[in-house]
């Protein structure tokens, strides 16, 4: 099945239709954008800790610059890091390999989706340099900050922001159709839907949720462009419009979007925890059903973002209830993961450390999420740093911790070598410690009433106390540590890519089909057509002399 024809550099590495090359393109673009997003955070955290001093000696930061940086940090981390790395990157790499296909269902569409995404990245980066600077209305772009030029003082920055986000949505719509069709329709013979590895289930459901939630926001984004450039009044109360309309359109997509990036992360977790515990995934069917339930519930929780923005108070209770209810499927995940690890023969390699770290961190994020989702508590802590700390305790584990677990685990399938374990463990320790140092103090700052969108906390007496300033500095020092802790990773990534220990086909003795390819898999992936003989997680089977039975291994005596 492998193609032996010589390919030019351009068709092999640039305009490639090979799902593995496209996966790397998505991942590397996403990780480069993560550096931009991380440095932005470093800059505005410096401003928050020492607001009256020049930031890195460059000058005092004006409030509108601060707003633009926070806005772009959020936008980049969600749309240009989490989405391309987790959904498109890992999805492209793993879904075809795990179902035993030689490529995605629509390879040319796949290439198109990456290049549309690339274009959106360029547009977003250009928006930093246009007159007036980048968008500064928050990553949520609520009107009136977004629909009138006067409100945020940014003209072209917002237009380009909307254009970039729209292009990005097109890219992931195309990519999503591809992932869904590949995951459902390209399974090898013998692999029923109930034999799919957890990652495929999670990514397919995530893509479906994205596909079915993003539509209204596309309409909403067009309305923003019409409002600000042509003077229509969709969000303007004077003309009969309603600014709340955008909040509904945004969060109808925006909240499911949280699950769109969470689900692939949980899929990665399932694979890594299971392979390194040498035990069958606990409650596979229960987890899959909980993913499906979470996917459905994710469409009816959005208004919990709007408890204080003037929704009908009668709506607050059902949305609180649904929000608390949606924590159940994710509690099922965490319990199942803990039960999987429980009494296993655990290998604490770097991927496993990150996976275990995820469970601990996400627990804090999840529990504080229930607090935020309860209208009575939310009204007090809304828009404070408590909320900021909450969503960083969910999104940082999703976007980075799970991604790192996945990269350390599947590096052989990306670049054919293993990553350095010592550097990996330093990376884990630094990331884990400094992540907590960054975000734990923010819970307290939030409880003190620190609003999330103020550039200079010392302008307020209650935030100028020595306690508050100390927490502020602690969080900023944590941010520096978190950024510096990524240096071993970057070094490890490139040195392992070029000089790393060569990996065999199945270095972790895992059971899913991608481990039946060469490391890295050639064009066309498998040496011969595959067949699945059993479910995805047969570890320590009874009656058989081997430790694990991959899906691709024919039936054994005594099985």
């Amino acid at each position: 099945m492998s193609h032996t024809a010589e390919e030019s550099f351009i068709s092999k590495y640039v305009f490639s239709v090979d799902h593995k090359v496209i996966a790397k393109q998505y991942m590397i673009t996403g990780l480069l954008m993560a550096i931009v997003g991380g440095l932005l955070a470093g800059v505005f955290r410096t401003q928050l800790a020492w607001p009256d001093e020049p930031v890195f000696g460059l000058g005092i930061m004006a409030p509108h610059v601060y707003n633009a940086m926070v806005t772009m940090h959020g936008t980049i981390m969600v749309f240009w890091v989490a989405m391309p790395v987790l959904v498109a990157g890992f999805g492209n790499l793993l879904v075809p390999l795990m179902v035993g296909a030689d490529d995605m269902a629509f390879p040319r569409l796949n290439m198109t989706s990456y290049w549309v995404f690339f274009l959106s990245t360029i547009v977003l980066i250009i928006s930093f340099f246009v007159p007036g600077g980048a968008a500064a209305g928050g990553w949520t772009s609520y009107p009136p900050l977004s629909n009138s030029i006067e409100a945020s003082g940014v003209n072209w920055g917002v237009n380009l922001w909307v254009l970039a986000v729209a292009l990005e949505f097109v890219a992931f719509l195309l990519g999503g159709i591809n992932i869904i069709t590949t995951g459902i329709n390209m399974r090898v013979p013998g692999m029923s839907m109930w034999d799919l590895p957890l990652f495929v289930w999670e990514t397919v459901i995530a893509s479906i949720v994205f596909l079915l939630s993003v539509g209204p926001l596309i309409g909403g984004a067009v309305m923003i462009l019409l409002d600000r450039n042509f003077g229509t009044g969709f969000y303007d109360p004077i003309q009969g419009g309603d600014p709340l309309l955008f909040q509904h359109l945004f969060w109808f997509f925006g909240h499911p979007e949280v699950y769109v990036i969470l689900l692939p992360a949980l899929g990665i977790l399932g694979e890594v925890l299971c392979a390194n515990s040498r035990k069958t995934l606990y409650g596979y069917k229960m987890i899959v059903w909980s993913v499906i339930v979470a996917g459905i519930l994710s469409f009816v929780v959005w208004a919990h973002h709007q408890f204080v923005s003037g929704i009908d108070p009668r709506l607050a209770f059902p949305f609180s209830l649904m929000t608390i209810l949606i924590s159940v499927p994710f509690a099922v995940h965490l319990f199942a993961f803990i039960a999987t690890v429980w009494r296993g023969s655990i290998r604490f390699n770097t991927a496993m450390l990150f996976a275990c770290g995820f469970v601990a961190l996400f627990l804090i994020g999840g529990v504080t999420g229930i607090m935020n989702g309860t209208a009575a508590i939310d009204i007090y802590i809304h828009d404070t740093y408590f909320v900021v700390a909450h969503f960083h305790y969910t999104l940082v584990p999703i976007t980075f911790i799970a991604t790192f677990a996945g990269i350390y685990h599947w590096f052989p399938k990306l670049f054919g070598s293993l990553m350095n374990e010592t550097l990996g463990k330093i990376h884990f320790l630094g990331t884990f410690v400094f992540l907590n140092l960054t975000f734990l103090p923010q819970f307290n700052l939030g409880m003190m009433g620190h609003h999330r969108r103020i550039a200079n906390p010392t302008a307020f007496d209650f935030l100028s106390t020595s306690d508050a300033l100390f927490l502020q500095e602690l969080s900023t020092i944590g941010t520096y540590g978190l950024l510096l802790a990524q240096i071993p990773f970057v070094f490890n990534f490139f040195s392992s890519m070029f000089r790393g220990e060569k990996a065999e086909r199945n270095p972790w003795q895992a059971t899913t089909l991608e481990w039946n390819t060469e490391s890295p898999p050639g064009h066309g992936n498998f040496d011969a057509p595959q067949k699945a003989y059993r479910g995805p997680y047969v570890y320590s089977p009874e009656g058989v002399s081997v430790d694990f039975l991959p899906q691709f291994e024919p039936p054994q005596d005594g099985e």
């Binding site: 390209m186 539509g215 309305m223």
Partner: protein, 196 residues
């Protein structure tokens, strides 16, 4: 090693695990996202309309006859595209391509009628910024119009391909897309024209 693989189940790479070919399944998912895009707009419009009973007077200024004519045009074109699919299914590619061009022709009539309406409304002062009703009117019919244009372009590409001897499977897919364009219009017509 790969010794585990038996050759008895060798299948072409275009194999599909369900009854559906990849293209049709992908198309259904694509169309579902289109339904959500227009569904979101329609629901938004209906909710706003409930707060603005005065929009009934604005809607009276649309040309019902032109809208009705366009509904007929799109419904007929949907029938033609079904006949094109039928011809392709029977292997008569030349006829399939011809019928696709007929469908494109109906699309062109639709756009001409719509252009006449826009002209008529704009000269009377009913521009997109006149008030929110006209904002929604131009947004929804405009987005729909773009889909009409997109469908026409896709049909021309498929028809030319079929004439050159390409696999006529695309006839079915552009047909599916064209039905969605038609169905969306069936929602827009009563909501924007008749509800006056």
């Amino acid at each position: 090693m790969s010794n585990a693989i038996s050759n008895e189940h060798e299948l072409p790479s275009a194999m599909h695990a369900t009854e559906l070919p990849h293209g049709r399944m992908g198309m259904w998912w694509f169309l579902s996202s289109e339904v959500i895009i227009f569904g979101g707009l329609v629901v938004t419009y209906i909710l706003c309309r409930m707060h603005h009973s005065e929009w009934a007077l604005e809607a009276a200024n649309t040309i019902n006859m032109a809208g009705a004519l366009n509904t007929m045009v799109l419904l007929t074109s949907s029938f033609v595209v079904v006949k094109a699919h039928e011809a392709a299914h029977k292997g008569d590619n030349a006829k399939a391509a011809r019928l696709l061009f007929v469908t494109v022709g109906f699309g062109l009539i639709f756009l001409c009628v719509k252009a006449y309406e826009y002209h008529h409304e704009i000269v009377q002062g009913f521009v997109p910024t006149a008030n929110l009703f006209w904002g929604f009117y131009y947004l929804m019919t405009g987005l729909h119009g773009l889909h009409v244009v997109g469908g026409m372009v896709a049909m021309v590409i498929v028809a030319l391909g079929v004439q050159r001897g390409n696999d006529p499977v695309g006839v079915e897919y552009v047909g599916m897309y064209w039905h969605i364009v038609d169905i969306v219009w069936i929602f827009l017509f009563p909501l924007l024209y008749l509800a006056s």
